[in-house]
């Protein structure tokens, strides 16, 4: 990954951006274009050195291993509402979440022809089986199924997961034709730690002054990281933090909400705008959470794969698809809500996402137990009418402002 720019010979776009709005606009262009222009640019710049591109299915994949090779890991979030499901329809049934179907559609319609492989973690029944469907439809491409351990409290899990990571290291090295050294891995871990710290910093600034850091805009900045090498994304985020402070926005009355359910399939960007227009200030969310998966930095010394395994088992944020072990999802969510002075909780689950839909029942009960108001609705990748959500959100905000 080192040495090549995602934007080829033309330099990066963030240094030249003079305003926050311009930077956000450029990030949107890069992040939501399912022709993947930055990825194609990286691939052609890396052609001489045999650079490879690997698509990563949510929620979490250990991308440091790709980054340590001559490889660009790209987070795939389906068709981002921009493609019709046509070919994938005959391969995955309509009662399955959009992201599985539209990601397959991307592959079947050559949107991913700059990609050399695909990695799927064992987050749910759909993802697990998708790995086999993918391998069957793209026989000659690199497809890696990663088992993320669920028995996180077992001593055996650390050794097992380190083994999984070692297997990934070996196969990625075969893909690129060069071994992946511990030194390169440690460097990648440092880059990713920095990336997570910058994303967390954006989140912290938003929580402190939500009107200054609108959610859909910081979402776009984070989304640019899906299609850029992480060191470039780090530079972009540093620029963003500087520009964001420079542009002063008026304070507005809004209800502070936490958003949950969007850890895998992503809602349309408009949904975030609708929520904020309705008077919700999203101060905590699980959007694109894979990039912020660890609550503390991964150890930068010692055995890098053991460090990644240890982080996965004990330092993650809690989502419906990773096991909390001795921790509690309910308590974790309520603690975060207290810390961020959250006044209301929004469960926005993707249609047909079983893990989100199961958890929403338990989390809702826990929230109601402490009298935290809850709004629940479902979304789909290709959703285009938001009136119902807008109305629900406005009513939710009013009920909190006037009755809580």
């Amino acid at each position: 990954m080192r040495g090549q720019s995602a934007v080829g010979m033309n330099g990066n776009f963030w240094d030249s951006c003079q305003s926050w709005d311009e930077l956000v606009g450029r990030c949107r262009e890069a992040a939501f274009d399912v022709a993947f222009p930055t990825v194609r640019a990286w691939k052609s710049a890396a052609a001489d050195t045999g650079g490879r591109v690997v698509g990563c299915f949510p929620v979490y994949t250990p991308q440091e291993i790709f980054a340590a090779a001559n490889c660009l890991p790209v987070n795939l979030f389906g068709g981002r509402g921009q493609i019709e499901i046509d070919h994938a329809d005959s391969r995955i049934q309509s009662f399955v979440c959009s992201i599985a179907r539209s990601t397959l559609e991307l592959g079947l319609t050559k949107h991913l022809d700059a990609f050399d492989g695909f990695i799927v973690p064992s987050i749910c029944d759909v993802a697990r089986n998708l790995s086999g469907v993918w391998r069957h439809n793209f026989e000659h491409s690199f497809t890696f199924y990663l088992h993320l351990p669920q028995n996180v409290e077992s001593e055996a899990a650390a050794e097992y997961f380190r083994g999984e990571l070692e297997r990934l290291r070996t196969e990625v090295a075969q893909l690129t034709g060069a071994p992946i050294t511990d030194t390169a891995l440690r460097e990648a871990i440092r880059t990713y730690n920095r990336n997570r710290a910058l994303l967390d910093e954006l989140g912290a600034r938003r929580a402190a002054r939500p009107e200054q850091w609108p959610s859909s805009q910081i979402y776009s900045l984070a989304a640019a990281g899906n299609v850029l090498p992480r060191e470039e994304h780090n530079a972009l985020l540093e620029r963003a933090l500087a520009l964001g402070d420079a542009q002063q926005r008026p304070k507005r009355d809004a209800v502070r909400v936490a958003l949950r359910g969007a850890f895998c399939e992503q809602p349309p960007l408009e949904l975030l705008d609708v929520l904020e227009d309705a008077g919700c200030a999203v101060v905590d969310d699980d959007l694109q959470i894979g990039a912020r998966f660890f609550q503390q930095p991964v150890a930068e010394e010692g055995d890098p794969l053991a460090a990644l395994a240890e982080s996965y088992l004990h330092r993650t944020v809690l989502t419906p698809v990773n096991n909390p072990g001795k921790r509690s999802r309910n308590e974790d969510l309520l603690r975060r809500c207290r810390e961020k002075s959250v006044q209301g909780l929004i469960f926005a689950s993707p249609k047909f996402c079983e893990p989100a839909l199961y958890d929403s029942v338990l989390l809702r009960r826990a929230a109601e137990h402490v009298n935290l108001p809850v709004l629940e609705f479902e979304y789909e990748e290709k959703m285009s009418v938001f009136e119902s959500v807008r109305m629900q959100a406005e009513t939710f905000v009013e009920s909190i402002l006037f009755f809580s």
Binding site: S90, R91, I92, Q93, F95, V96, A100, S122, I123, C124, D125, V126, R128, N129, L130, S131, G132, V133, R135, H136, N137, Y145, H147, P149, Q150, N151, S154, E155, A156, A157, E159, Y160, G163, P320, V321, N323, S349, K351, F352, E354, P355, L357, Y358, D359, S360, V361, L362, R364, R365, E378
Partner: protein, 436 residues
Amino acid sequence: MVGNYQFQGVGRDFQKNLLGAWYKRLEDAPKTGTPVAYLFISGNIGELLRCFGFELAYPEVNALQCGIKKIAGDLILKAEDLGYSSDVCGYVKNDIGLAASGNRGPFGTMPKPDLLVCNYSGCNTYIKWFEALAELYGARVFLLDVPYRRTGETLRREDLDYVIKQLEQLAAVCAEISGVKFDPDRLREQLEYSRAAEDLWVKILHSAKHRPSPFDAFFEAVFFMAPIYVLRGTKECVDYYEAAWKEIEERLAHHIGPVSDERFRVVMEGPPPWPNFRNFWELFKRWGVCCVASTYSKVGGIWDFGMRHDPTRPMESLAEYAVNCYTNWDWSLRRSMLKRYAEEYHADALVIHSVKSCRAFSVGQADVREHFSKAESLPTLFVESDLADPRYFSEAQIRNRIDAFFEALEHRRVAGAARPAPLRAGPASPTKSRQA
């Protein structure tokens, strides 16, 4: 029938009695002070838990009982009232609805669990299910993490080692809860029974290679397989399969099978629609269809390719078993299995019953239809409904699809254009001497 046949109906009746007695023991567990563990069918390590005196309960079996007794619909609605989405697994909702109704079902009253063993072989929904039950009952959960079996014929050493280490940890948890010390001899004794039952079960499964098949490997297998899933490791279970084999042997001797005139032999992929089980079977019977092999009968273990529980390698063979459940297999392995079944059992077609509830089964089935109907030229029928939720069973629509499919198949056969390989005669039926 009684005049000519000594053993017909034994498989069904004996099974019913065994399950009735088992449910009675469960109902009595609070009175007898017997600890109760809940676990799942796929990859269940019941033999290990029984070493500690646990009585075993299987929420999936309760759910299918409610389905077949037609009370699942109401229980599912009850769970939806509690906040569960219409799009999540009907088995889970059935169980939550049951718990909210005092745990009283057609099988009696289910005792509360002392331990929830989430042996998740090929189903992440299992995890979400037991997370909900843990909260509901305040019971301890042990999550036995069983890695998915990936491509390749050999089992991965690291997967087995990981499962074995967790089994040892589970044994320690069981000892702590039950106060019973682990007795390796008791485990070996049970595994000996498991192996004996598995040998007999495989004989029954293989009998469907005969023409006519003496046994429906889907519609009848769901009854015949119950003891090996819930009572495996016991002497009664072996007794059951000895009796069931006699029934099959008798059918072979008399050249009889589940349909009076076997016209089509199919491989069935997917679970049954429990609330409409009879109707669904009838839709096939009227075309003289016999399911000669099925994948649903392998959800709790794939023994017909040689795998066995082994008393000389207790933990190792428990781990091998747990990894080898159908939905814990990658699709390349599942496709090979379907292909092998179609060939070895001389099937005319593949029928896929895709259920919304179980994504572990269904995601990938449409791709399988594409593969078999195109690359393998095996006529493939695809029908959709659900395993628990009666709202998804549209009889008229399913009947139309089934009728159209077998009509076309019959037409092809009459026109001489049918696929030649599956129509070859199967192995000869047993000779008359066997009857003597």
